[in-house]
Amino acid sequence: MNDAERAAADLTRREFFVRGGLGLGSIALSQLLDADAAAQVAGPRPQIRNVIYLFMAGGPSQFELFEPKETLQKLDGQSAPASLTEGKRFAFIDGDRAKLMGTRRDFARHGESGAPVSELLPHTAKIVDKLCFLRGVRTDEINHGPAKLFMNTGSGRFGRPSMGSWVTYGIGSAAQELPGFVVLQSGSRGPRGGATLWGNGFLPTRYAGTPFRSGREPVLHLDNPPGVDRDDQRSFIDTVAALDHQRYAQVGDPEILSRIAAYEMAFRMQSSAPELIDLNREPKSVRRLYGVDGDEPSFARNCLLARRMVERGVRFVQLYHADWDHHGDPNNHLGGPLEARCQEVDRASAALVTDLERRGLLDETLVIWGGEFGRTPMSEVRLRIGRDHHIDAFTLWMAGGGVKPGFSWGKTDDIGYSAVEGEVHVHDLHATILHLLGIDHEKLTYRFQGRDFRLTDVHGRVVQEILARG
């Protein structure tokens, strides 16, 4: 399609809505897109409907969590082989002088799959048979901002649409009263890069991720103005609708009907969104499972919210949890700060998988857990001990529909520096996630500045080896 044809298609879509009485703008776009755009981007049969992406911002250390390396323990304190570090760029350490460092954490093999998980993640250890570990993930970007952009948009530079935007652009969302792509944040601060990580890039703005705020008003402006109660709001919306209908009678613009429907949807969201975030509606046992404590904003709370969102059809939920950077400064080393991060996310991450499974939602949901890169096998010595950014190989896990449970893909060399088999580049990861959603990553394109852009650019291979069904 060229731009003009695309614009025509957009209009036709909108008209289709209007005639179908669904003129709901972005939110019900899914209805039509499932039938329309989805047909054009369709790859295989969709295996999942939703994605929950637990983004560990900062880059957790695979060596302290998932990747014990005997040889690395033995070589502790020695220089890294020059053959590995030559010509490599590191964020902070000097590759020639840095010393290899084995982990100080205890590891055990867990479950029937025997996946190694360290003492830091006792809850994750209990569910390893539901997880699919990718041990040879590779990225191109060495610093946080670009690497986060790369993991989310497939490019280290600003301007490209994020994965959630691509997905909702491609196949819409089944959520009737919520945005199709929602972003949640926990920890001390937002991630480096900010809104560009869930931005729409050159896609229409309606595909941008909607940040859900903590507190009682998750979506902006759900609250009526002071002194306006629900009945007042009803009669306000009815009056606006009556006047808009009158204008429609005069000028016949179908866009007016879309606007009337958008106000109706907004009115419903005003009750559905607060209902969504009211976790007191969940049984105590469920809140305890996640570790939700009162109304305090937390990763646990966001995990439970994510489950409630996918239940309501939200297509793509992304959770950011800050401060996984471990360089060795007093506030970011491999001791207390790493332990604190693990404690903040471990129970809830495992609970999310368990809870989704119990409800039969895990089959249609993909949970992803990981950062923008991993950490070096070499130590970084500052006032305390840490590890530097590492892009050649790191670990993330997935769980849910379409991927093999209790499975591990990819193997790194003896010191965990690079993958020796089963390398999964970020582009491959994107291709695979789209594949699971029933999207052919080579067909999901958008024409911008004379070129058809893709999430995977000109790269990407579906990692067939991890798929439960081919």
Partner: protein, 626 residues
Amino acid sequence: RVNTTGAVWLGATLGCAQCHTHKFDPITQTEYFQLFAFFNQTEDGGVSLGPTEPVVDERTAAQVAAYHAARDRAEEALALAEATAAIGFSTWLPSRYVASEGPELTLEPDGSLRCVAHNPQTSVYTLEGDAPRQLSTLRLEALPDLSLRGHGPGRSGNGNFVVSRVRLFVQDGGSADWREHGFHRAVASHEQANYPVQGALSAAKGTGWGIKPHYGTPHVAHFSLAAPLALPEGATLKVEIEQLYGANHVLGRFRLRFGREEVAPVVSSEWRDAWQARVAVEASRPRVPRTLVMKERATPRVTRLFRRGSFLDPGEVVIPGYPAAWSSLVPDAPRRNRLDLARWLVHPDHALVHRVTVNRIWQRFFGAGLVETENDFGLRGAVPTHPDLLEWLAGVWVRDGFSMKALHRRVVTSETYRRSSRIDPAHLERDPRNRSLARQARWRFEAEWIRDSALRVSGRLVAKLGGPPVQPPQPDGVFAFTQSRKRWVTSKGDNRYRRSLYTRIWRSATYPFATTFDAPVADVTCTRRARSNTPLQALALANDPMLIELADHFGDQLRARSGSDATRIGDGFTACASRAPDARELEILVGYLQSQRGAAGEDSEARAWRAVARVLFNLDAFLTRE
């Protein structure tokens, strides 16, 4: 810059050629980098804004001159006070001065050393130079400095430092070995509790000289040898200042002097006062506005093509030039610098630029251009719907001397522009996208227009031109999703009601009202905005306190007017929709006003009018250009 220039001026997708040449595309990668070469010669500040130049008028020129005079006087007085306090000592000027852990030490004209740029966690300063012939006491002056946080003298957040150890080595002419001469005792003008200067005599960890809580003012310490030392001619001296406390507790500015006599290290009140006077002068420094300027580099930079677009893989050298495909438009155009490029773009013969510009103006008036792909006039772009019209408009525009006003007038006085936007079902069937312009287009206002219209209609608009960005009200918590919590201090007074053009833009979290209404992100060029119609927009229009404030004010204005309900509502409607309401519209609004009045009383009257104003701000008729 090349890609943006392509999209905005040339209607060309130049970015396609950034990584490699495409077989069937007329623009090659070499040509892409020839355009890049024009831009590659400018002096850019990188992360800082620059280069800038001060904008000095007569009045500020006098203020600046007065400030300079006062500053020079204050610095002279300070230098005198410093010298007087150090009588008996002579300044030591090291010939070599380095800092471990990255920062640079610079030797200032007054003999002091400054640690600039990178702020290290810890550092060891090593200074070498000619030794004095006689030596008994080393005087370390920790000096405040206007450029340091808290005015120093240290570089920790509050201006503190910890000198962990001071060591002295001598190399006399005969031998290449350094011989250490340990200091015997140390005294200081002021010592922090638990951080006395004696701590700097030994290698013990965790000890040293600190100055809490007297930051931003000078301090002096004297380190004395057990006995005076006589040194031969040509001897070299090395002083090491270890600062190992961590967390940036290093000296930001200091000076070393040597003396033979032991004198108490005192910071005289004259010295302290002179420094305070210097600080006071700085506070009176006139604020001269600066403006960004385009500046060519003094020495040209060699531009190379980047293979596969990667700056890490530079290839052949290229010089500035214009793509061959367009070379016939303006033959023999000079191509020395960016000014030449600008002149090439606006040359009266550059027909492509004229078409692209006129087309974009047309897009602003009709919602879509005559060439719908306004940033792609190439083969893959859309074909013009009315090529003759486009050509004629471009031609007349050039003859008018590129007058935008004349162009606007020509378009808005045309019969086509003045057509009704009423949609005829038969037309809709035949031409759903109205490409043949049987009617005028209806479209929702852009984000900024909506707020600006509400400002205007409510009477709140402050039409002041120019000035720094402003912060109209925005919801709390916007920066919870960004790396650093930005400050958003809501502007007071006039600045609360300025046009949206002046609203501050943070890249990581743009003004939420604007984002909701499709304002683009600032990272990529946008020559046409999307126009969505979403429930989040409905929520913003209905409930955003920023708009409610304006609606309330509008309601109060209507209530205060004289005339019947119907008259006042009619006035309000006309202000919002640029037309009078019809009978049915009026009836609905009057009915709503009455229903909102409820119980009698002044309060309910105000409430009812505010409710009406809120309805008016949410009408399609208010939000839509027709």
